[in-house]
């Protein structure tokens, strides 16, 4: 049995990889609406990355998004419209945040 040790950024990254890989496999057979649910769950988990990867800083904006996801993600089972409204709100919030922070393109100039 391995000794208990603190979770590192590498551990958490591998956990995210496991979640995404098994979700990808699941989405082949699962109900189509599970795709959005898995992506939103992945988004929620991504926002925790700064807790474990110390090169990233805590981000209040991302924390707030996670809070909303955790409160509403199960609405998919009860009310698809409520789930869709939540995703629409998150997309809008992220877009506004992109504008506010100023765009830094990851694509190198031609």
């Amino acid at each position: 049995m391995k000794e208990e040790r603190a979770i590192t950024g590498d551990d958490y990254l591998l956990e995210l990889v496991a979640f995404l890989a098994t979700s990808a496999r699941g989405c082949i057979d699962e109900p189509p609406m599970y795709g959005p649910l898995r992506l939103i769950e992945a988004l929620s988990r991504l926002t925790d990355l700064p807790k474990y990867a110390k090169c990233l800083k805590e981000d209040e904006f991302l924390r707030n998004i996670k809070t909303e996801i955790e409160q509403k993600k199960q609405s998919l089972v009860f009310d698809v419209q409520e789930f869709q409204d939540m995703v629409d709100r998150i997309v809008l919030q992220v877009t506004k945040e992109l504008k506010r922070r100023g765009s830094t393109s990851l694509i190198p100039p031609p």
Binding site: M1, E15, A18, F19, F78
Partner: protein, 184 residues
């Protein structure tokens, strides 16, 4: 202890759990409820792996996108496809295994609820990964994972179809109604 109909009416799928552990006495009662489920041709295809180790629970969680929360206990329900085929043919292997394990799961969910526990049946997992983690031999298929623990939430009742949309009287499409049923 809850009356059966009351247990059916009040059971919910629980995904948030308190950290308290579940006693072996309760676990045995839950397993016994599964063991006594109805079974086509009495195949009894179910096999149960009780997972209490935090390390193993954590590994299962990581490969199960539908496994939310951190329950202190999981019971993985497998079907033995080999013996089911030997005794029940293709119907036994391909259909009764799933039907029987589902009936066992429902018994176990109700038993957990009657014991004051919360539980949720999860199908959103990688079968290949679960087989690897639990060292499952060929011919034994994971059907469902039951997350079990003391509930830390009270979920609402999800929307359910009304009876007159899903139940019919004498022929398919002729809506069931209580008054018609009594005249017949």
């Amino acid at each position: 202890m809850l009356d059966t109909l009351e247990a059916i009416r009040t059971r919910r799928s629980i995904r948030r759990f308190k950290p308290e552990t579940v006693s072996n006495d309760s676990i045995e009662k839950i397993l016994e409820a599964g063991r006594l489920a109805p079974s086509g041709s009495n195949l009894q295809p179910w096999r149960f792996v009780v997972v209490k180790s935090q390390r193993v629970l954590d590994m299962i969680r990581k490969v199960s996108p539908g496994y939310l929360g951190s329950p202190p206990l999981a019971v993985v329900i497998f079907s033995d496809r080999v013996t089911s085929y030997a005794k029940g043919g293709r119907l036994g292997r391909d259909y009764l295994t799933v039907a029987d394990c589902s009936m066992a799961a429902q018994n176990m969910l109700l038993a957990a609820h009657a014991l004051g526990l919360g539980a949720c049946a999860v199908k959103g997992f990688s079968a290949a990964a679960v087989r690897e983690i639990l060292e499952v031999p060929e011919g034994i298929e994971p059907e469902l994972i039951l997350m079990i623990g003391y509930p830390d939430e009270t979920p609402p009742v999800p929307p359910k179809h009304p009876i007159d949309k899903i139940a019919f009287l004498d022929k398919y499409g002729k809506a069931w109604s209580r008054s018609q049923g009594e005249k017949a």
